[in-house]
Amino acid sequence: MAKAIDIGTSFIVAAELQDGREVFRSERNAFFCMDRDELAQDMLDDAGARYLVRGEQLFVVGEDALKFATITGDQRAYRRPMARGILNPGEEQAISMLETLVEGLLGPAARPGEVCAATLPAAPCDAEGDITFHRIVIERCLRRLGYEPHPIHEALAVIYSENPQVESGGQSVPFTGIGLSFGAGMTNAALAWRAKSLFETAVARGGDWIDERVALARATTRSKVCAIKERRLDLERIDPRDGMQLALEIYHEELIEYAARRLAEALHHTQASVEEALEVCVAGGTAMVPGFLPRLERALGRVHLPLQIRGVRLARDPLRAAAAGALVAAVSHEKRRPAGRAEGASAAAPAAPGVTSSPGGTNGGASGTPPASLPPGAARERPRKAPVG
């Protein structure tokens, strides 16, 4: 059966079906580097830590890396293979460590050519950033493990997981709505009609950006900011006398406003148009802070989206929604494969009615689908299957 992997800047989540039920495995996307000696190695063995020996260095990977960084206080040795949603260009060990983590979580394919859907970000609309290298590294890694890689845009995966619907022509249209994924490195967005991605974009800001800004503003470390953010922050109950809380509130607000504004701008530049009011499904660790969702809803109301929004809801499991959606795509793709569907068609997504190529403006491509738009009024028609392949 197919598998899926959501490769995020902070966490990697693998998903598969076991006896018809989804099971997830997650690991922190990080490693800790230390000099190799027998004592250290014995200590790691005794602690049951996962590590690699490379030459004269030990690399502790995953959650244990954070523990060691905390224990030793050596933040410089705590490193991350990814930054801002893609492979960290300044990290020489990025590829090998990411491959190790992916292999450790997924294991080899159960049979050659088993489908594995991998989430990918869209190219950011507000920063230099190319996802081609990142995508090819991930694809090669999966192929080496015996999988047939199946890339899917992260925010589209959120839509597959949460299945927002609209009523059209007296019928319910599944997988139709807006997916937003507020991750650590990036914020990704997608608009889908009947599972077909019409529009994808991303901004190069996420939870890490908040940590960075607040740390600068409060002259403290990012790890301290992160710890407070994850454990104590409630955006509905900010104590204005607490400088740290105030800074966190300001930069959460700033991120929300910025993402909403950029989403509106990008949508205005496309021809995507859907007349039905859409539901917005939100996932990602950054969106889990209490009070985040009402602020996002207000921000989306202020920026005049060229679409109607009928509600904003948090994914049932915000940290695993992208992995779950990728698994939906992978299982569906594997089911349809024997029927002779064209390989390389959209990420398990059939075409929307009346979809035509857009002259530009989207940042699509992660799912392998061409940029597309839905002409005004088309959504009123009864959806019909478009030719594939």
Partner: protein, 184 residues
């Protein structure tokens, strides 16, 4: 036979001799190293002088065929001798795997290649143990158990990453995948 005991609470390592002795464990130095090598080794000498090792039993002359393990299957070997033979087998394998681990350097592909070599070596040892007519049933079981333990330790870093989570209300993914397939 020269049985020595690790009197410390830590694991004794003799890197140059590829010898490791667990806390409180006994090892037949004749089996592990050979009498002359053991007696000439400064590391062993210092370990005795410092009290890290103590002699449990030392026969005057080393039996010629001890290293090969020539005992008849199921008979003639007392418990101490069996334990010493098993310990020697473990130490020798540990030494071999330690060298392999040390060679596991380079990129991840090389490391995984090294891991495969180590697994092949363990499989080879398994075949040898099963084919060795001189071993009793109990020794075979003990050696196979040790080989399995070593393999588990070796692959643990690669096979056991991540924390598993199975949601209470599982099964939605399969239903949604069906729905998605039907759309196509």
């Amino acid at each position: 036979m020269w049985i020595a005991r690790n009197t410390t609470r830590g694991r004794l390592r003799f890197p140059g001799l590829a010898l490791t002795i667990a806390p409180g464990a006994e090892v037949d130095l004749d089996c592990a190293l050979g009498r002359s090598r053991a007696e000439q080794s400064n590391q062993i000498l210092v370990a005795f002088e410092e009290g890290y090792l103590e002699t449990v039993r030392k026969d005057p002359a080393p039996p010629a065929a001890v290293r090969g393990g020539t005992g008849a299957a199921g008979g003639g070997l007392d418990d101490a001798r069996l334990a010493a033979r098993l310990e020697a087998f473990k130490d020798s394998l540990r030494g071999e795997l330690q060298q392999l681990r040390a060679a596991l350097a380079g990129d991840v592909r090389t490391i995984l290649g090294g891991l495969r070599v180590a697994r092949d070596r363990l499989d080879e040892q398994r075949r040898r143990v099963l084919a060795d007519q001189s071993l009793s049933e109990a020794e075979i079981r003990a050696r196979l158990a040790f080989l399995e333990e070593q393999e588990m330790e070796l692959v643990r870093n690669f096979d056991a990453l991540g924390r598993a989570h199975a949601p209470e209300a599982g099964g939605e993914v399969a239903a949604k995948a069906d729905l998605l397939s039907r759309l196509g």
